[in-house]
Symmetry: D2
Subunit: 317 residues, 4 copies
């Protein structure tokens, strides 16, 4: 076997292979560069070539301290939907005059149901994964060697800001006809009187529960569904957001044909994603507490080579 | 089928059946009452007959606020061991010009390996489970109907206090010959200059990593192993601790023959347990920060009918 | 803990408790005996009090030899539906200049989808499980101690006989309005010119695929669905059938209110069940081969304490 | 993305890519051809370019008929070790006056423990997988598109022949110092008075149970372990064996450095493998029945895209 061939055998996943640079110039030649929002101000290399934290680097000790200072009533709001593992089994064990009950959980947590954090390795496009790495080298059937979920092992604890889209639109929920745009995020923050700052967890509430009550289901990745437009990516990048939490996800279909209209912030900017957050109770709490900032915490499980983790994030007022 | 018989068919698990009262008087008759530490100042009924929170009720909004006020450097320390699910499988999906990697986690988290929270329903003895409930009625092969892990769905966020036993003993770790006693917890807290208060998360560091380095393994429930003596239970009850976190667990064997020498605080006092915490880095941080109190957070997954949850708890200084 | 109480703690499943005899007389007192087909000629004790094979005892070496003598064309027909495990995951491993791909299967096979064998322990009623055993003593959350699937560890190899109901009725399938009755099985066998003999595997084809094509789905245990009427049980008992294989299962709802209208042959007669068999290709083969008898083989996996096994049974002509 | 690049993205597994022809000539250039037993009389193309059955094609209806004719006593011997799934969980369900117990099985069956059939897709080397196919195109994280286990969906039913190595060697088991060679298989068959014929299932008993009793464990693929030498491959090819069943597997280490010293018969000759068969009881039965041929049956589960299946094979005398 020659060495060229061996190089393809290194990673179990037959993936990128080409460097971002080469592909970048290729797309420049074909004039496609402008249409890919994820070639805009990419954060690759910003924290060094080996960085696995991405925009989570912006959550400094000082940022965490400032977040803790936001706690003024002690009210805690869970941002997790109920979690029903695909497998949940029970065993009852004797222990002398006592007993114990233990259980087994088995699940795939990615998708549109489980509240979870995406590691930066979770998705990529033709340009490569986070920090320009080649998924063919970093990912195989045992998981990710780079930017796995253990990178967030010290927890995601920062200032949280809620953007309440239904309240701003005076509608129960975002609909298929009008995805949330980047400019709207800007306008809502202003209307709410809250500044979006570097290192924040930006939580965008789109009224998913109301939508599901009306429509029956929230679509999977291949279905039409309301959510955020790819123009949000630029806002997220320009404000140096560290974490995007959302109840609705990327709006589908995407007119620009992006594989990851908003999920692209993972690999391009290094922004952690909190998918399928439960934000209705948080919106209620913000309205009652009359403020849209709070201490945010999400503590992913430390699964070596894992691509994410189910979480039960808390907003603490 | 007569009604007596039917009552036995109600719960899938053929369990207690008898009320705590009846059993209590039975053991009084045989003179065993004194030997069961878990009949001492039981918290059953203290927060009402239907209470599922137990001593976690002591974590009030004010307590959470006070915990947040302890954050003075922003240093975050993970209290979770690396988590390796029993099953970890990967799937790679195409998405147009991009791709994603997703994974499956399957695991039993109870035992002596995974850092996890025990729900109050997890263990019981002949007197019944938390709040005097009958496990035959509350537990079946679909899990627990009472005091499951969702009771802690708003997170366990409170003041944390570390008790550093090896430092006090000037030893690398607790050994088989000398379990940690309740009086020693008291003495160490005093020596460390830290008060233990109602609603606290008490973290008892016993030097498990050093022990394992020396001995090869930390024993499962049926093995001899160092840890905490059942006399710790009274200290925990008298100080109204809400959460006990530990790296070593109940010392085994237990001379009094208790089925749950320290785990009994779950069903008797309603104290949440954080088993298999990683406390060595926390001990190091406390020494460096020169304080043994901090903001503690553990956020269990909201698994309906679940008996606990793996967690990645954080101490925030 | 007194001894009465302890006895309830022995089995994890709070189940029967009473002996069949006692319960039998209880139902006699209330006059219910006549309505339970599963108190008719029960095989309990027929092969000894500890027997775990039930009617499979009738498959003697001589019976297997006779079955092999039925092989006259060598045509092999699979009676298994395609099997899609609930979990199917892949791992690719390097091995020097080579590689391997391995996979994980995880599944619950009971229900109306997977072709599988039920062990005799799988279901019971108020009278107890196979051979009159008490499920509270024999079954816990680790599985069955009595009559588990390993009892069939030497395989189920015998003469098979197909009963083709749609062909007899000149209909594409059995409908909700007219379940298959015991007398009809008798009539069809006669019309097909095939004798049903002790130790046989009786395969009852009801046209499930045609029904599903028309109706969209075949109902689970709680749904209305076409299938076999409880009167089939007496035919199965009187002919000393060893194995019942079927594509449609117990007709639901059952007018007599039996918990297990036909599944009752498991615990009452010790008849092995082959649920969700794929019988359309077999009906086709029988018509072409012009005979309704063949060598039948189903080889359950030897899972200690298991309640059944997925199988790929073969009819060999 | 250019088309070259896209071709690498087609398969999830970054694998071969090169055609067997090209690689073949490459190894010819470097003079390595002679050392690879798996370039000897390869069966690629023998049954057409799209064939997924390999040497199992030799099991014709006539061969199955002849196998059935070997049944003369009706004695059935299981060739499966006890099967303990990695996950085995139980659920108990109410059904009116009755109940059922169901269970979940989860397992990886490849390896050295579980008795199982390997599909032809399971392993490959630098020349490609069965029939010269490119694993990069045929295998991804959803399994195999070519030569998966459903190819054997009609069962593996043929004449079985046992080769009893310990009996021939007058030793309890094969040892590390002396792997079983191809010439020895020939000699043993002759000594036993049994001819090995095309389409047979060849079962090679090496005394694994006795070895494990002595040594404690049978080594995994990376460990030293007794078993069959790569010279067996030629015997298997020349006799046109369809199925190789064995208790011990490829002897390790292999002096020639083959990735798959004997497993190579899978991809090179299309021979189905029955790994970890339990052959001690079969050796006992052959000695008692005074014959080394019998009807063999192994019936793999029909898992679409699966790379094999656990089985409970039966020898019927």
């Amino acid at each position: 076997m020659d060495s060229t061939r061996r190089s393809f055998l290194v990673g179990a996943a037959a993936l990128a292979g080409a460097s971002a640079g080469r592909i970048g110039s290729a797309s420049a030649q074909t004039g496609q560069r402008q249409t890919n929002p994820y070639e805009y101000r990419r954060n690759w290399g910003r924290w060094g070539a080996d960085d696995q934290l991405g925009a989570v680097n912006l959550i400094t000790p000082a940022k965490r301290m400032a977040a803790a200072r936001l706690v003024r009533s002690g009210r805690a709001v869970s941002l997790s939907r109920p979690f029903q593992p695909d497998q949940h089994f029970v065993r009852i064990n004797d222990r002398g005059t006592g007993r114990s009950v233990v259980d087994y959980y088995g699940f795939m947590y990615h998708g549109v149901v489980v509240t979870h954090i995406d590691a930066l390795c979770h998705v990529w496009d033709q340009n490569g994964m986070w920090n320009g790495r080649d998924p063919a080298k970093e990912i195989d059937t045992n998981g990710a060697r780079f930017a796995d979920i253990t990178a967030f092992g010290s927890g995601l604890i920062t200032r949280g800001v809620l953007i309440d889209v239904p309240r701003y639109r005076r509608a129960s929920h975002v609909g298929l006809d009008r995805p949330v745009e980047g400019a709207e995020l800007e306008a809502i923050a202003k209307a709410q009187g809250v500044a979006v700052e570097p290192g924040d967890a930006l939580l965008v509430y789109s009224g998913r529960e109301a939508f599901v009550k009306e429509s029956g289901t929230y679509g999977s990745v291949g279905d039409a569904r309301p959510g955020l437009h790819s123009s949000c990516a630029r806002f997220i990048r320009d404000r140096d957001i560290s974490i995007l939490g959302w109840d609705m996800l990327d709006a589908r279909p995407d007119k620009e044909g992006q594989p990851w209209p908003v999920h692209g912030v993972l690999y391009s900017y290094g922004v952690a994603l909190l998918d399928n957050a439960l934000l209705e109770p948080l919106a209620q709490a913000c309205a009652e507490e009359k403020r849209y900032e709070f201490m945010f915490m999400a503590l992913p499980l430390k699964v070596a080579r894992g691509t994410g983790s189910p979480v039960n994030p808390i907003a603490l007022f």
